[in-house]
Amino acid sequence: MEPIIHFSPYTGWVYPNETIFEWSILIAVYPYITGLVAGAFTVSSLYQVFGFERLKPVAHMALLTSLSFMIFVPTPLLLHLGHPERAFNATITPHLTSAMAMFGFFASFYVALLIVEGWFANRPYIVEQAQKRTDLLGRFYRLLTLGSYDVSEHALRYDKKWIFALAVIGIPGAHGLHGYVGFMYGSVKAREWWSSDLMAVIFLFSAIISGVSLLAVLYVATCKMRKIPVDLACLKGLAYTIWAFIMVALLLEALEFANLVYKNREGTDMIMQYVTGPLLVPYFILQFAVGAITPFLWLSYMIWRGTTGKALIVGVTVCACLVLFSVFMMRWNVVIGGQEISKTGKGLLSYHLPFWGKEGALMAIFLTTAPLGLLYVLTRLFPPWADAPTHAHS
């Protein structure tokens, strides 16, 4: 008999309604993208606010990366809704007890902040282009100047103040936004796998490592594409950042897991059966061993040995890719994993990832990589390269 509706196979005892997976891969993609935004913004603020001079070559790109990804943050959510056309109901009548209700406001605020900060940071370039170009693009830049052509030293100093202030607001903004995403899962008491006070912090730290790693990869890739040498000091700075934060991220995850096992509440048996069974490879091997511990050890080794040159570039790039992968696996293991453990505490389900369709693998890959396309366009319009002579701002 062909089933009328696609359902997930299960073992043990699960509630009948649980056999339909309600949150698909898109809901794993959503915190992943949000995390990249927060992480990329961390890099930009390390430079703008905390004065990490060596990160200067990536600081501008970090801002554009953050913006590109942020614009795509709502897409997986919208695609997943049963009624996307009603999405604004959550903003028109936000139900304040809901951890999801304020998301629209936070996200819009943050996009606005990124745009304004980006505008200030790129103003000298915009003004220059507006004055130089006579074509259609010139018009676009003239529009963007918002009528202000003043790039005098005084004006730029004023701009810098704004950039600083916005970056300062942006830090709690970006991290708040992402911590909030973690809370959305952490506050669901119905699921033992999610329900944890540490969830928000774990999300935050994994977000930071993923965003910094993304920038490391993007930086090396853009240097290769532009055929300029990689600034090793900058790359090292990124490597240090990843290294430091990965340590905290690992510690938090270990703490969370230890807590779960040690408290041994109802349903823990099922969780243990799950993590040592179906989750063994995605969780212990892919997320931890391959994605987090390997890069951590490798980075430690490189820092210890003072590795430099090509070995450093290759090492950091590979480590960064592994971290990006690990953080995706973390999102997957939380979102999908949480639903694979039945609320009955007596059964396990298995999610089947379709390739095609609105909530399939292809769509997930598209949504995760589409921001890179937008980033490409943005870098053409507002070159973020610190070495570009036209770029007055520093």
């Binding site: 009328i4 009948p16 049963g82 109901n89 959550a90 936000p94 609320k343």
Partner: protein, 282 residues
């Protein structure tokens, strides 16, 4: 007994006749009626007891606090309730989405774990021969059964509903008379509520793109009728009524028995009260 807690004979007959009648006709008519009702009760801003907010003129929701009782010792697992609910409420006709379901607990001699299944289990679907009719397969015929019982389940219409707490739009809400409903015209289909309900009571109605769950047949109870599942239960395992009326069946059920609720540790404070369930039921 009050009028609300005891349906008239005529109403009962009419309901049973409808059940027996052409399924499609009944389904369509009921579906339309449900839609109409949910649309009007969804006007959440109307003050309580404002007659105009109800399709039933003489219904006063401030005079009611609905409650539900389940006497698991009586349930025979015939699944009429499940079928009646599907028909009455236009619940998607598949074997994976239910507003109410029945669980079977079987303890076999020498086995450590109790075997649990529900009507949606492939073996049971195989036995019923369709995903639209339900039957418990006689799968333990040759086993040495120590202990076995059935447990009907449904939305608990919690006093502190986790589903209402997490709904970002307010599309799911608790009525003055204690029923948790979903406004089908306002729900965005995010399914946060489905995740948040500890009891697995919710699902996404894919046809409508909105969250769906038991309404305690709100369209019926506000007219003085019983929920469909209560109405059809041949053994009286399901008990329903007004908690504000001390003589209602549910009030008596709670008073005369030691009742318990499911997953009390969740803090949801359920309003479905159980008698005769065992330790592994949650």
């Amino acid at each position: 007994m009050t009028e609300n807690s005891k349906p008239t004979l005529a109403a009962r007959r009419a309901f049973l006749a409808k059940l027996g009648g052409a399924a499609t006709c009944a389904g369509a008519a009921v579906g339309a009626a449900t839609l109409g009702i949910t649309a009007s009760v969804s006007a959440k801003t109307e003050p309580a007891a404002n007659g105009a907010s109800f399709p039933t003129k003489d219904y006063d929701w401030t005079k009611h606090q609905w409650g539900f009782g389940v006497d698991a010792t009586k349930c025979i697992g015939c699944l009429r309730c499940v079928e009646a609910c599907k028909r009455e409420n236009d619940v998607p006709a598949n074997a994976h989405q239910f507003r109410t379901w029945v669980e079977r607990y079987v303890h076999i001699e020498g086995e450590e774990q109790t075997r649990i299944d529900s009507q949606q289990d492939p073996v049971n679907i195989e036995a019923s021969g369709s995903e639209k009719t339900f039957r418990f397969a006689n799968r333990y015929r040759d086993a040495k059964v120590d202990k076995a019982f059935f447990v009907p389940k449904l939305c608990n219409h919690c006093t502190h509903p986790a589903c209402v707490q997490v709904c970002p739009t307010g599309a799911t809400y608790k009525t003055e008379d204690g029923v948790v409903l979903v406004d089908e015209t306002y729900c965005i289909g995010c399914r946060y509520c489905v995740q948040a309900c500890p009891y697995g009571a919710r699902f996404l109605n894919e046809e409508k793109g909105v969250a769906d769950k038991c309404t305690w047949c709100y369209h019926r109870i506000t007219k003085g009728l019983q929920p469909a599942c209560v109405e059809v239960c041949p053994v009286g395992a399901r008990i329903f009524g007004n908690l504000k009326d001390k003589q209602s069946p549910v009030s008596l059920f709670i008073r005369n028995n030691r009742v318990q609720v499911l997953k009390a540790e969740m803090g949801n404070a359920p309003n479905v009260f159980y008698v005769g369930i065992d330790k592994e039921v949650n």
